[in-house]
Amino acid sequence: MSTGAKRAPERKSKNEPEKDGAANGENPAANADDTETQAPMRDTTGTDAELRKELLRSMLVQRRFEERCAEAYALGKIGGFCHLYIGQEAISTGVMSMLRPDDYVITAYRDHGQALARGVSPRAIMAELFGKSDGCSGGKGGSMHLFDKATNFLGGHGIVGGHIPIAAGVAFAIKYRRRNQVCVCFFGEAAVNIGAFHETLNMASLWDLPAIFIIENNRYGMGTSISRSTANEDVVVRAKGYRMIGESVDGQDVFAVRECMARATERARKEKRPTLIEMRTYRFMGHSMSDAVNGTYRTKDELEENMKRDPILLLHNLIHEAGELTEGELHKIDDDAKAVAQDAWDFADASPEPAAEELYTDILVDTTS
């Protein structure tokens, strides 16, 4: 099965020795690169075959959907900024699979994958990207501002770090109402250098808010690598400064993501404590559609090396090797994912543009209280 990678990925032997940063008292995150290219896929969450299949389906829908986004962008059907999530799908799928429908999700602008994984309609998302009236934000938000109240998907936010305090506000409301929901907030590793991140972590811990802050560390803030932007690349140690539990996991391993989320949601619901999680991943595409896949800031070799740990490929191989699904069944999942993307495309194409009157709606609401 091709996952969209340009070169057929190779798996290294599982028997090669792994570097163990933790044994030296360091967070393995900082030295993760070597480890992860060799790490086998884990499945310690006791997931059954049916769930594994569902996880694969979720990731493939995101991948096939976004491949069509790139195509639509080239055709001018999608405009503006468009940031693809390809390569990071194990995080969205793993995290969402551990949430309840009444939990809340808020994220930054690389939001297509998370919206899909959360259950926002692919049709409504594609219509939004096409700037159509059936879009999940009525065509007023676009790629960076996907919102869906039905699934408690609180957006798609375009200012790096600006949504992090908003997540704490949602968690504050949960506490205020004495509920046991959680609010999950996604952002990139570059956002840990912005003030809003620090202000929020302080208050979330100080006030025991049920928030889970997820750093998707894809190693580049646009074109600036973490080593060029961040004094301590071990970003999760920042949790300590705010008396918060911090964890670092392999974000290409959907089971590692789930396992970590199980602990974090338990902590939020039972102990009412926030968690900071670093999920180590890699972006297979450019920062946005105007950025070449390699760009000037990373090498083709680095990209290809990381594509060997394509999260979809890892899960696919695990299922295949376990003999849980036949090649035919695996192809069927992929074909279904492509069909979802095609259906979304067709729907978005047919959806009308927003009426001109919509220009002046949704600026203010009529007050009812």
């Binding site: 007023k140 949504h163 305090p165 997540a167 506000g169 504050f172 205020y176 202000e199 609401v365």
Partner: protein, 326 residues
């Protein structure tokens, strides 16, 4: 009708709305244990407890964002900035989050919240603490911007702001907290977006808002001694602006002076004058003149500060000029 201070009028509004709706809460620096930096929240912690009267760290961006998040999921936060000068640190939440959320979500997420605090210059607080922000904030679609100048308007507008389902910027006059005025007994609501003619007159209109309303009234008193009567229009709300009230007054007096606390360039007065020249062009007997802060950062020295601020003398001179009496 009881005579109360502007400060107490605000406290009454907060207390009444906190009692009325348990989704309403107040957060900000020193609002709880300290009873408020300007004592506007005095006694509220005792009455409503720490979950609803929330002391925050000094972290404007963070707690403004917490207000935005809480409003997104249905609470009705009142975010207090110790002064609006400090709100600059949180302006991303006001402008990029609160004001945009409804629109960019296609109408799914409304923002029933209030950002409030003292605005404008006090006395000798110098450059960083003496600024009037209404023209900046009124520029943004998605916000409502209120500038009460009297205790009655402070109470009535704050109650309306808290009940509004939109993000409301509520600019209190730092020098007004101790001023007194009559406030109607019982439930007192002032509608948003409605100006009030604070003084009827026929010779010249003064269009103003906030702290400068008192200055305009003082000038009206002075000129009345000379037989000149001023029509003082208090905008009360800057966004949405009650342009009908402006037109009605200018069409009556045929002359206008526009007074504001902020700077000249792109100020509120510029918008008012733009409206007057478009809608009242044939009514005017003289060019409209604006009174505003001098185009300098606020100095500390008493004499320089006095020179920098718009005041009664400058306003009076402007009125005489449009009446061709100078």
């Amino acid at each position: 009708m009881a005579v109360v201070t502007y400060r107490d009028a605000l406290t009454q509004a907060l207390r009444e709305e906190l009692q009325r709706d348990d989704r309403v809460f107040l957060m900000g620096e020193e609002v709880a244990q300290y009873n408020g930096a300007y004592k506007v929240s005095k006694g509220l912690l005792d009455e409503f407890g720490p979950m609803r009267i929330v002391d925050t760290p000094i972290t404007e961006l963070g707690f403004a964002g917490i207000g935005v998040g809480a409003a997104m999921v249905g609470l009705r936060p009142i975010v207090e900035f110790m002064t609006w000068n400090f709100a600059l640190l949180a302006i991303d939440q006001v402008v990029n989050a609160a004001a945009k959320m409804l629109y960019m979500s296609g109408g799914q997420y409304k923002m029933p919240m209030v950002f409030r605090g003292p605005n404008g210059a006090a006395l000798q607080l110098s450059a960083q603490h003496s600024q009037a922000w209404e023209s900046w904030l009124a520029h943004i679609p998605g916000l409502k911007v209120l500038t009460p100048g009297t205790p009655a308007d402070a109470k009535g507008l704050l109650k309306s702001a808290i009940r509004d389902d939109n993000p409301v910027v509520f600019l209190e006059g730092e020098m007004l907290y101790n001023t007194k005025g009559e406030v109607p007994d019982g439930e007192h609501i002032v509608p948003i977006g409605v100006a009030e003619v604070k003084r009827e007159g026929s010779d010249c209109s003064i269009i103003t808002h906030g702290k400068m309303v008192l200055v305009a009234m003082k000038v009206a008193d002075e000129l009345a001694k000379e037989g000149i009567t001023l029509d003082v229009v208090d905008l009360r709300t800057i966004r949405p602006m009650d342009v009908e009230a402006i037109a009605a007054s200018v069409q009556k007096t045929n002359r206008a002076v526009v007074v504001e606390e902020g700077w000249e360039l792109c100020g509120v007065g510029a918008q008012v004058v733009d409206f007057i020249q478009r809608e009242c062009f044939d009514d005017l007997d003289a060019p409209v003149i604006r009174v505003h802060q001098e185009d300098v950062p606020m100095p500390y020295a008493k004499n320089l500060e006095r020179l920098a601020k718009p005041d009664a003398a400058k306003t009076l001179a402007a009125v005489k000029k449009v009446l061709y009496l100078d």
